[in-house]
Subunit: 315 residues, 3 copies
């Protein structure tokens, strides 16, 4: 394989297992770069990276910003008021404006599923999906995959649980696809109202019984309970949710001793995860943050046409 | 001519035709720079550019930010809450603070006409007016002029229409001055309430009949209808406005075949301009965005004392 | 002395007089750097500086941003909505996220006293306190000290007044400590409700009579009246405050001819200080702004383990 040969990163669906592994291999290299003393390399020197977020986010934006800056790019933030209704037409015009400004990359987050795909077709800039509606969040799935590879060497044969509000989670959708492509078995778990039948089409197992599932898992991804995404009355009380689906000290003790606990952050401590677990050696939540930057550096590099890495000079 | 020999760019009034042409010539050079693969040159390395906007703007701020960064400047955003009342005294103190911080350039947008001139007199930093009240928006007029030169070689003898809310438009005022200085004939067009008699002093023609005017024009600048600027009852309904003054498919077909259609952006598609026109080969709206960055790079360069360009090294 | 040998700068209390003087000496060097034409040196190249402000601030944030950028750091702004309640736990998680992102420095401002100390203990990043509640604002006290040294050579034997809302002022607390450590005598002055007895423990003099105090002073620091900090009914009317405690033309004429007038900015002209004084040669308010950047560059340099400076190469 000579690269990933595409303009955009919009989802996991369109990536092959080999491409996911190439991104992870490259991320390993970039992680070495920025955990050195001098964190900067000139891969994107003179390139412009524009962050266009229609939903608020500190963590993901920051990760892309650091990744771009450590590659020496010019980074531009475009914050779009969440209150202003953005129509399809003006969205295209915004995109065309960024293209006319010669932005090389547009990192986009939008509340509407497939909006990034729609835009990617209408611009020559490289578009990276940083989360579109409930549809996909590919760089999160790539960093989750990389984090598991870093711990276990490979996902082949692993059994991974994804727990929480599956219905509204773009992280879950992208994780399922990435983990399965890399050879893992995935089981979804959550309250019945948040675990719709449509997910069966992914070929995953599904269960409402977290306590039954947990001892069988090699890794578990505890999704953030996003109150702002709950619509209607799908959601039980926080107390009831914690009772049945939180990763607690007691539950951790029923797990495989070396179970890996992941969380996409930011955590609601005491809701979906308790302090004892979040601060235990099983949790790799901080590593996920570090790896997120490395994976995003790798994505920039490969979308620019970068080849598998032997060595890259430091500035 | 050896340069533009001034500290500030506050309006078009104070620029000679030769100076406008020098800026456009320099912009041509800088456009070549950033449409190359490596877009960065060290013209402003170690210089600080501070953006002080008292009115919201994404597009103009972004254009200045990219221009500054592509010249290797440090770019600093100072966002000033539009709700906080800023008094004359504290405005001067803000400016003095930026000067004490050794900002080399202050890009300022303010809702009060002549506020940038007032401040420029009270600071040693270079001040660039990014729009002050209804008064002036010189870099917009420069990029409009450059875009026309790029298409036609010269504005001499061109007949250019400016259409819309002339009364409240700083773009119109600066465009009129720039286009006339470069030898074009300018005709203004809009509803009577938005086309006040005071504009006769510019020596322009004025008409309320867009359909009569259009076939005579070489270029037309469709101003954005800014609902937020409409005060009182000057403004007809959107439907009536569109009927009489919008650039529609039908109207385009009555134009000279190679008429140039400009718009300062962002467009209200379906209000002052229709999709058919905005997306037609006659429209140069995206080129205007690209050229805006080039023109602003040229302005930075020349205000710093830069000489007419033979060649500049790339970093 | 070989450096300041610490990870964090949280207060003045923990600095020795020699360490304060080392920071001021280094600041002198950095001020020379950025008042040259090329203001940038590679001291922090490849390092990430993250600004985490839980209270709004333009001036202090800007000063840190310019200091970091002039040292070639990557600067990242994290704005935290003042309305969102940030609990202790999530504050630690925010900090851990920044640490996992390999931020080398976190500049933090928070409305809760000692919050920066709490966080510094929980991260390996260098934490610089940019103001925590009423507790401390060490870089302000360092720049005030440096500004006085620049004017007088030394603070030994100086008599310095600090005037205004002492009770709520973190600047006052840090200034008192710094000025005393450098050998100055400090007298506090303000309305009785804003000058609590607890300050006697600092070993300062206190008075309610500004007119009696002024002629004895070598320097006076006029604190900003921050209406947003006034709680309850401690505060007299603006008219009454001005009458008794403002630095007016009349009062300046009763001062020592070369009294130094300082203000941490931004000024409320006509409240705690009048135009005549603010714009007089006695005022060093703009120099304080310039010196603030130099002092913050020195703090970055020394916290990174920098040694006393002979010479540093320019980029």
């Amino acid at each position: 394989m000579s690269g990933i040969n595409r303009k955009d990163l919009l989802d996991i669906t369109s990536l092959s297992a080999d491409e996911i592994l190439l991104i992870c291999d490259s991320a390993k290299y970039f992680k070495e770069v920025f955990t050195r003393s001098i964190k900067k390399i000139p891969v994107l020197r003179g390139k412009s990276v524009c962050c266009l977020f229609f939903e608020p986010s500190t963590r993901t934006r920051l990760s892309f910003e650091l990744a771009a800056k450590r590659l020496s790019a010019d980074f531009i933030n475009v914050t779009v008021s969440s209150s202003s209704v953005v129509k399809g037409e003006s969205l295209i015009d915004t995109m065309r404006t960024l293209e006319a400004m010669n932005a090389d990359f547009v990192i986009m987050r939008h509340q509407v599923s497939l909006s990034t795909e729609f835009l990617a077709r209408n611009t020559s800039a490289s578009v990276i999906n940083a989360g579109d509606g409930n549809h996909a969040h590919p760089t999160q799935a790539l960093l989750d995959s990389y984090s598991l590879i870093e711990k276990r060497g490979s996902l082949k044969g692993m059994h991974i649980g994804i727990v929480g509000d599956i219905k509204h989670s773009r992280v879950a959708r992208s994780d399922i696809e990435a983990f399965q492509k890399l050879g893992a078995k995935v089981t979804l778990c959550g309250p019945p109202t948040l675990l719709p039948d449509e997910f069966k089409s992914y070929g995953v197992d599904m269960t409402y019984d977290f306590d039954d599932l947990l001892p069988k898992l090699d890794a578990v991804n505890m999704l953030r309970i996003q109150k702002e995404r709950q619509k209607g009355s799908h959601f039980p009380s926080i107390r009831e949710y914690h009772e049945r689906f939180a990763m607690t000290e007691k539950r951790l003790k029923n797990c495989s001793k070396d179970i890996i606990v992941m969380h996409p952050g930011p955590m609601n401590r005491g809701v979906e995860i308790d302090d004892f677990v979040a601060d235990s050696p099983n949790a790799i939540i901080n590593e996920q943050v570090t790896n997120g930057i490395a994976v995003r550096m790798a994505v920039f590099y490969l979308l620019m046409g970068g080849k598998p890495l032997e060595s890259l000079g430091s500035e």
